[in-house]
């Protein structure tokens, strides 16, 4: 299923983003926070990939690293034929219009001292040499597209509601006609009623403009509604990558199963009978992840092999990829086992208590 059809618009291969830790008097490099540790996926043009996981699992870092707002430690991010992770600065600048981002907090992502017109036309200042009138025309067009009244053009961000601010953020991302947009929890800071509006707007725009989304969220039901395929992340690695219908009806990875059991069930009859999986312990520190599978400290189905060998993300059913030893033949051990530090066991957070 993955190999059929045209080449994917976005290909991420073994992306790693490690933030160094410096400690002591001489600021020596003593370790890394492995926020993203070997993530690979593909997104077909015009589709949406949902990226879910709990707080701090590296979802946002994946999005930001893909647009090279952080310098990735390793890996490749191929967007429309160019490896964004290794482009030289000027080529990267030229590439920027084709990939944009919608940020989580619409209040924080808009400069409080700029008017709506300034904010939305900023990308045009950077990448076009249009006249003032042309830019204004484009700003009006974008405001119409995202459903903002043209009269608001001189207003400042603090004069808008949260939903309107997020629309401004979307208009800014659309200004340069991008093909790929990273939506970094665009609805997390909004009211539920506004969330639906913004999600519908994103869907409409995708249909009209043929956009490709990476939709980062911790709202599982919203991702189900929006995404064709969903990747579940845990501690910097993808646990499961499946088509969303399959994932929601029958999650394979134990973590995905536990995560999905937390989704609210609107039917009270079903809700009573539903089996809720409650994980024990805390998420281990990404600076010091477990030696084997990242989830082995909390997994209800943990086996011996899980504690020593990191499972690879492999296709276990057509279109469904899982990183779990439950679905891998016992003999095939993980080939790309990351080099681990010796003092692993001493300071292990999140062990079963």
């Amino acid at each position: 299923m993955l190999d059929a059809g045209p080449a994917p618009l976005v290909q991420v291969q073994d992306l790693k983003m490690h933030f160094p830790i410096y400690t002591g008097l001489f600021r020596r490099h003593t370790g890394d926070v492995k926020a993203v540790d070997g993530v690979s996926f593909q997104i077909q043009a015009g589709q949406t990939l949902g990226l879910v996981g709990e707080s701090g699992c590296g979802k946002s870092t994946v999005g930001r690293t893909m647009l090279r707002l952080y310098e990735p430690t390793a890996g490749r991010v191929i967007i429309d034929g160019d490896d964004v992770a290794s482009l030289p600065p000027e080529a990267l600048r030229k590439k920027r219009p084709s990939m944009q981002m919608v940020f989580q907090d619409p209040q924080a992502s808009l400069n409080p001292r700029m008017t709506l017109a300034d904010i939305v036309s900023e990308p045009l200042h950077e990448h076009t040499d249009w006249t003032r009138a042309q830019k204004l025309e484009r700003v009006y067009e974008l405001m119409d597209q995202v459903g903002l009244n043209r009269r608001f053009v001189n207003r400042f961000p603090h004069e808008f509601s949260g939903g309107q601010r997020q629309r401004i953020g979307i208009a800014r991302a659309l200004a340069l006609k991008p093909r790929f947009i990273v939506c970094d929890e665009p609805i997390a800071a909004l009211d539920v009623s506004i969330q639906a509006q913004v999600v519908n707007l994103l869907e409409d725009l995708q249909e009209k403009l043929g956009l490709t989304y990476l939709f980062i969220s911790h709202d599982l039901s919203m991702v189900r509604h929006l995404a064709q395929r969903v990747a579940v992340m845990y501690l910097g690695r993808i646990a499961e990558l499946s088509p969303s219908t399959d994932l929601y009806s029958r999650p394979l990875h134990p973590y995905a199963e536990a995560l999905l059991s937390a989704v609210n069930e609107p039917d009270p009859e079903l809700a009573l009978r539903r089996k809720r999986i409650i994980l024990k312990g805390d998420v281990p520190s990404p600076a010091n992840p477990p030696k084997g599978c990242n989830f082995c400290t909390r997994c209800p189905k943990v086996m011996d092999i899980c504690k020593t060998v990191k499972p690879d993300l492999v296709e276990v059913e057509p279109g469904r990829m899982v990183a779990c030893h439950l679905y891998t033949a016992a003999g095939s051990t993980g080939a790309s086992e990351a080099p681990e530090r010796k003092n692993q066991e001493r300071n292990q957070q999140g062990e079963n208590r």
Partner: protein, 303 residues
């Protein structure tokens, strides 16, 4: 919606909004009026108020006079008209205060932004700032004035030379506080999401600094600037007092203050006049800065 789409508003200039907010700030308006009349007075006052020429004998008889119609602010210990000297002194003091403050603010903001934004420059620039902070200020100024006064005076004349040197010396030794404040502010601002958004758009660092960071460090810079004016006027008077500023017969407010200090017990008004002028200047600049800071912030504007 229909009427709006037929006549969509043009992006308007913010100058009018800024002025209307500024004019609601009573203190700022008061400051603007006071500072404006002070500047006007020292600029055209010496032409309007020309004291009578006195011979030396007359002047000595008329020394240390109190305020009268003939001498509105009295006379000093050499029988010179205080009003005339105050007006002349104001020219120099105001010019020194404003120009030295501008130099310090521009330089301090520049250093602060470079240090805060570019991580590689941070450590060297901040160590430079520490170095300047650690230097004893007065001896440094004395050395600078001693080394360069004659050379600059030879090039552009003694008075303008002294002015240039003093303004430069004060400016170059008072930018450190601004640099530190600005650096701290920039460090927090550059992690904001809107700066990240600008980077994701592909904005170059100079654009990010000019459009997103500089407008948001205005408030602390404004506070530093208003305090800087007062400090510059005082430092100038200290230099003049030590005999290394302007020539002794060349009046400045600080100079008049120090001259009057010896007679303070007998003729307190001799200290009050220049002191009042300095205080009024500082106070009005402070209020103007306050009003300007509010007017430049769209979140406060219109409340």
């Amino acid at each position: 919606m229909t009427d709006a789409s037929s006549t969509p508003p043009k992006p308007a200039s913010q100058l009018r909004d800024i002025w209307s907010q500024f004019s609601t700030h009573k203190g700022a308006l008061f400051g603007l009026i006071v500072l404006g009349s002070l500047i006007l007075a020292v600029l055209i006052g010496p032409y309007l108020w020309v004291p009578e020429k006195l011979t030396v004998a007359e002047a000595i008889k008329l020394k240390n006079q109190g305020p009268s119609l003939r001498f509105p602010l009295g006379t000093d210990q050499l029988g010179r008209d205080m009003l005339y000297r105050m007006l002349l002194a104001g020219r120099v003091s105001l010019a020194v205060g404003l120009v030295a403050m501008t130099i310090a603010i521009v330089f301090g903001t520049f250093i602060g932004i470079l240090a805060g934004y570019f991580r590689r420059l941070d450590s060297p620039l901040m160590r430079l700032t520490d170095m300047f902070l650690a230097l004893p200020l007065i001896p440094l100024l004395l050395v600078m004035v001693m080394l360069f006064r004659d050379r600059i005076a030879g090039m552009i004349g003694p008075e303008l030379g002294a002015f240039t040197l003093i303004v430069f010396a004060i400016g170059i030794t008072s930018w450190m506080a601004t640099a530190r404040i600005v650096r701290g502010e920039v460090l927090t601002l550059k992690e904001r999401e809107y700066v990240l958004a600008a980077r994701s758009i592909g904005a170059r660092p100079n654009r990010i600094i000019l459009r997103h960071i500089l407008p948001n460090v205005v408030s602390p810079v404004m506070v530093a600037a208003t305090l800087g004016v007062a400090e510059a006027i005082i430092t100038e008077s200290v230099l003049s007092f030590l005999g290394l500023g302007f020539p002794p017969d060349f009046p400045t407010w600080g100079r008049l203050l120090f001259d009057g200090l010896q007679y303070m017990q007998v003729y307190p008004e001799r200290v009050i006049w220049p002191g009042l002028a300095i205080s009024l200047t500082v106070l009005s600049v402070n209020y103007i800065g306050d009003g300007l800071r509010d007017a430049l912030d769209p979140r406060i504007r219109g409340r």
